[in-house]
């Protein structure tokens, strides 16, 4: 089994003291970010990217840091769901259903511990899936030519709006805007200046780190000012932990089923963690039927969605690592990091940068063990953090984003650009234009143009080469479905999730 050998090498990379330290740091910071209302995994990773750069970390260390932040944020997200009945992000909605009732019954500590264990189990299942599936997919992807790659990029855009995305046409607009931004700068093939207006700073194109931090972090600040949310929340007291082994054992099958379902949802383009936590909760509820009290504070009702969403977060890494096509917003941000480190994500990465890929996978396993060990004793600390008013927190987070961007280039020009992206992000988010396709367009634009060029050169200018092979055609069809399906499934899924929230008599 060569996979085992690679994984062992990966552990050797991940277990060096420096990398281990960064994994621990990332897991801790990630949990903090996830626990804070309003900050999700994508924002968290986006804010830390400039820091990873300015520290000049080697690629594998930078990736280990960011994947640990990612995993940590998925863990942390559940804390506000359980204690405040406020889901930090969409996937955390399902955790409210049984988590909050448990907390109201005075079993907050048990709910938090159960969710930590379930998150661990879900991630474990997801990471094992990643180890089994990724190398095979990478091998398959090696057969892709430029036309197939072009179609694959189309697929990525079509599905990234996500099943929960509302208007597919807005996904198209967003992706196109991102691609347009990526064409700014000097054309690599011909040396033509494109859309630079003679401005020196634009010759090398627009750095997507600026765009990411602006779109995610700065627009979040503006949103907060508009809503002024978060004042006067009542925290539920976390009592002494009294989780009986029997309760954990009872939930183990639930966790594994949830992890597998979540992983599948994560691998599927565009489906992601929301679907992962939703189907694992609903299917588990149906499967257990009368043997459970889902919705009234059943520990298994916490375990199922948590295992599901953490399984999905590992699953989303599969297309990102093997095809260079991210399956979620956060993985898009991770992809940005890889590209900035001069690593071309995709099937070749498994041969050319094997140490990075397997180091990251091993770090994911280690990170999850760290998270489990960190989360049970430190849960009180993370809970305390929820009582820090966001009015202090958000300005400080914004400042950290400024510092990070400034330290990369020491140029104030970049800061203005970042602010401009923040304002644009605020307006576009108001108009329900999704952010992630913009980022993806920015990231994939150069590759996409290159592949289009290669394909057309091969065919001597015949555009039909783009859908000539069965594989390319298949990808186009799936891309088309990806655009149409949200029309049908999106409203249904959202309605179901909202209905489930309302059914629950305790929540308000």
């Amino acid at each position: 089994m060569e996979t085992v050998q690679f994984l062992m090498d990966g552990f050797a990379v991940a277990l060096t003291p420096t990398n281990l330290m960064f994994a621990l740091f990332g897991a801790f910071i990630g949990t903090l970010i996830g626990a804070l209302p309003g900050l999700g995994p994508a924002n968290g990773v986006a804010i830390l990217i400039p820091l990873a750069f300015t520290l000049g970390l080697p690629p594998e260390t930078a990736m280990i840091l960011l994947t640990s932040v990612y995993a940590g944020a998925m863990y942390g997200g559940r804390i506000s769901s359980i204690l405040l009945n406020i889901p930090g992000d969409e996937p955390a909605m399902m955790t409210c259903l049984d988590g909050y009732p448990m907390a109201q019954k005075g079993k907050a500590a048990e709910a938090l511990a159960m969710s930590a264990i379930a998150s661990f189990a879900g991630s474990l299942v997801g990471t094992i899936g990643l180890i089994l599936l990724a190398p095979a997919l990478a091998k398959f992807a090696l057969t892709f030519g430029p036309a197939e790659y072009f179609a694959l990029f189309m697929l990525a855009f079509a599905t990234l709006g996500g099943i929960t995305g509302k208007n597919p046409m807005k996904t198209v607009v967003a992706a196109t805007l991102g691609l347009m931004i990526s064409t700014v700068g000097i054309d690599i093939a011909t040396g033509t200046q494109r859309y630079t207006f003679g401005v020196l700073e634009l010759f090398e194109g627009i750095d997507f780190i600026l765009a990411i931090v602006g779109l995610f972090a700065i627009s979040e600040l503006l949103f907060f000012i508009e809503q002024r949310a978060g004042a006067g929340r009542k925290l539920i007291k976390v009592g002494k932990l009294m989780l009986r082994p029997k309760e954990i054992l009872q939930a183990v099958p639930t966790m594994f089923r949830g992890g597998i379902l979540g992983f599948i949802a994560g691998v599927l383009p565009g489906a992601g963690a929301s679907l992962g936590s939703f189907i694992s909760y609903t299917l588990e509820k149906q499967y257990l039927g009368k043997r459970s009290q889902f919705g009234e504070g059943d520990p298994r009702g916490v375990a199922a969605p948590e295992a599901g969403n953490n399984g999905a977060s590992s699953g989303a890494l599969v297309p990102m690592l093997t095809l260079g096509v991210p399956g979620s917003g956060t993985t898009a941000v991770l992809l940005a990091m890889l590209i900035s480190l001069n690593i071309t994500p995709g099937p070749l990465m498994f041969t050319q940068n094997a140490d990075i890929v397997w180091g990251v996978i091993a770090a994911l396993l280690i990170g999850n063990v760290i998270l489990l060990l960190l989360n049970i004793p430190l849960v009180g600390f993370f809970v305390k953090l929820l009582s820090v008013p966001p009015m202090y927190l958000l300005p400080i987070v914004t400042m950290v984003a400024f510092v990070g961007i400034y330290s990369i280039s020491h140029s104030t020009f970049d800061l203005y650009f970042m602010i401009a992206f923040g304002i644009a992000g605020f307006i576009l988010r108001k108009l329900e234009i999704p952010m992630v396709p913009i980022i993806l367009g920015l990231l994939l634009g150069p590759e996409m143009e290159k592949n289009l060029g290669h394909a057309l050169v091969i065919s001597d200018g015949d555009w039909s080469i783009l859908w000539a092979s069965p594989l390319a055609l298949g990808l186009w069809i799936v891309a088309g479905l990806g655009l149409i399906l949200p029309y049908i499934i999106g409203p249904l899924l959202r309605r179901r999730m909202n209905a489930a929230m309302k059914e629950d008599p305790v929540s308000d």
């Binding site: 907060f224 000012i225 510092v403 050169v457």
Partner: protein, 148 residues
Amino acid sequence: MTARGDRILGLGLFVLAVAYGWAAQQWPEPFGGTETVGPETFPTLLAIVLALSSVYLIVKPDPDAQWPMGRTAAEILLSIAILVAYAFLLEPLGFVIATTLAVGTLCWRMGARLRSAFVIGLIGAVVVFVLFNYGLELSLPGGLLEFE
């Protein structure tokens, strides 16, 4: 329900698409004559896609979002102004002073009490400055506080 937001956006994007596409046609022919794919091929394609999808937004807009009005809008504009001023003053005033002012004002406008807002701003600024300059050895501008 009105749908003005999407219509204005659609119109703006349409104008952008036309300008972007037009600009692409103006580039000089690359050295060595026209190839099948030139620097303008991909942008032209994008301009067409954006033009079509912006027309769709004009024809079939979504219902409008709630736009901030009056005081809230003023607060948002103010905080954007603070951010721009922060970027502008970062180098001349130095990191610690500029950050204290920016974070302090933002906290205050978000509803914190004036004194605690600026105390938090100062603490945050000093902690980050020390961490970055001495811990991570990344130089942040000292500005007015710089001494040789």
